[in-house]
Amino acid sequence: MTAYLQAEGLDHHFGGLHALQDCTFDIEPGRITCLVGPNGAGKTTIFNAITGFLRPDEGHVTFRGRSLDGLRPQAIVHAGIARSFQNLRLFTELTALDNVMVALPRQFAEEPLGAIFRPLHAARSQRPRRDDAMQALHHVGLADRARDTVRNLSYGEQKLLTVARLLATGAELLLLDEPASGLSAGALDAVMALLRRLQSEGKTLLVVEHNTRVVQQIADEVLFLHQGHLIARGPPAQIIADPALAEIYFGGAL
């Protein structure tokens, strides 16, 4: 049986930096997997390699038995994998609703000919899509901020909006880069509850996270990365309790 998502022997250099070294792991469907490790361990590089933003020097990624090698980022979204960014990358001058609507797949008049020659159809076909986008906003608790430009949203709301944008793509595997960093305690709980809810609705999540409390509460499995190589995997309690891993993670401060 083939794995849901399988990364095999990923290897990549940035100049003299060996960012990924023979990195191999797989993910099971329907679970929340947390990717942890010290700064520079290669967590975001793995996201980039899976989602087509980076072509690794070596190695392969397969998703549901299908090779993703050499696919462009948009093709990987169509294959069912969507990712968020650590620095959010929202469209700050657009409204929250428009940020979500950009990500809806297969829209009519996403090119000029349809917009010019079938304007009525273009307008009509947008109405149900707007409802889809509103539903995604409602899902993350931002329905009442739909008309606000992103600039006017709080940092916590902006983070939730990135999740709404991922949901709009319709992808089943969501890669979240530090969804909980920089949040207040209240916002943190809201994000964790949201991730749990997404899981219960059938999404699979791969999450880069630094906060061990968050990892402990949401992760079904933890992948521990060090110097671009997977050195341990297991349930969160086991990984966090491992003194050797703690030594690596905190640089010997403990």
Binding site: A82, L94, D98, A103, E111, P112, A115, I116, Q126
Partner: protein, 288 residues
């Protein structure tokens, strides 16, 4: 009266060019300084086919010109996918200089520096447009058509996609959209506007020469977008109408004609600096 009519006609033509420039520079963020070159290609092609031994109907010549300008504009904006931002300005600058060199030196095709005189007035389905009124109406119709297209496109999902691309291309790719396809589509539309403007311009003036399609003309287009206002339909209309009124106002003043041309360039330059410093969003636009 003719004076006012030709002002309205010219301003209408420049609105189409303003839309072309605004689409690329203001909305997608491709800083093109070679829109006048594409404009020129449209004008020369229509001039060529209307003056051929067996003249072509105006609309057919215009359609060919627009198709050529669509292709050309896609080709000249493609480097923007490889070289970004500041570097593309230099590339685009080179394209403009190259076009001017061709317009000036390809005597057989363009008439060279002495230009292409005697382009006949346009015909519509066999009916010859003759009076300034009729020509003005044609220019206005072209402008309204371009404005309608711009408006429809910008309110459609395509417009939203372009705005998103200007902000963050990586995020657009992560949302599952092809940045390349959207940019090529925008370049095609901008090329169609420039070709339409060029074709109408050639028949309206009946004489074209390289000076209308040089770097100064491209910079004038940018000035119109900056003063009128980037990224909005209203801005693309206001800019040309205001800036083209300026030379007319200068001719009303009692100053020598040799000085008037210099004064115009001087005022354009000052306007550009002043708007960038004090009102970067232009009169009716959004902040660049």
């Amino acid at each position: 009266m003719d004076f006012l009519l030709s002002y309205l006609a010219l301003a209408s033509i420049y609105v189409m060019l303003g839309l072309s420039t605004n689409l690329l520079v203001g909305i997608v963020g491709i800083f093109s300084v070679s829109q006048a070159a594409v404009f020129g290609v449209g004008a020369y092609i229509v001039g060529h086919f209307l003056m051929a031994a067996a003249p072509m109907p105006f609309l057919a010549a215009l359609a060919i010109a627009m198709l050529c300008c669509i292709t050309l504009n896609i080709l000249v904006t493609l480097p923007s996918l490889r070289v970004s931002g500041d570097y593309f300005v230099v590339t685009s600058f080179g394209i403009q200089l190259l076009a001017t060199a061709v317009f000036t030196n390809w005597t057989a095709g363009t008439g060279g520096a002495s230009g292409m005189p005697g382009i006949p007035p346009p015909d519509l389905f066999g009916y010859q447009l003759q009076s300034t009124w009729q020509l003005m109406a044609l220019c206005m119709a072209g402008m309204l058509l371009a404005c309608l297209c711009f408006w429809l496109v910008m309110r459609a999902p395509f417009g939203r996609l372009l705005r998103a691309i200007r902000e963050d291309e990586r995020a657009v790719a992560a949302a599952g959209k092809s940045v390349l396809r959207a940019k090529v589509s925008a370049a095609a539309l901008a090329g169609a506007f420039a070709g339409l403007a060029g074709g109408i311009y050639a028949t309206f003036l009946s004489f074209i020469d390289p000076s209308s399609f040089d770097l100064d003309a491209s910079i004038l287009l940018l000035t119109m977008v900056v003063v009128g206002g980037a990224r909005t339909l209203a801005g693309s209309i206001a800019g040309p109408f205001l800036l083209l009124a300026l030379p007319q106002i200068l001719t009303l003043l009692d100053i020598p004609t040799t000085f008037a041309a210099t004064a115009r360039q001087l005022i354009y330059g000052l306007l550009l600096i002043a708007f960038m410093l004090f009102r970067p969003q232009g009169l009716l636009g959004e902040r660049l």
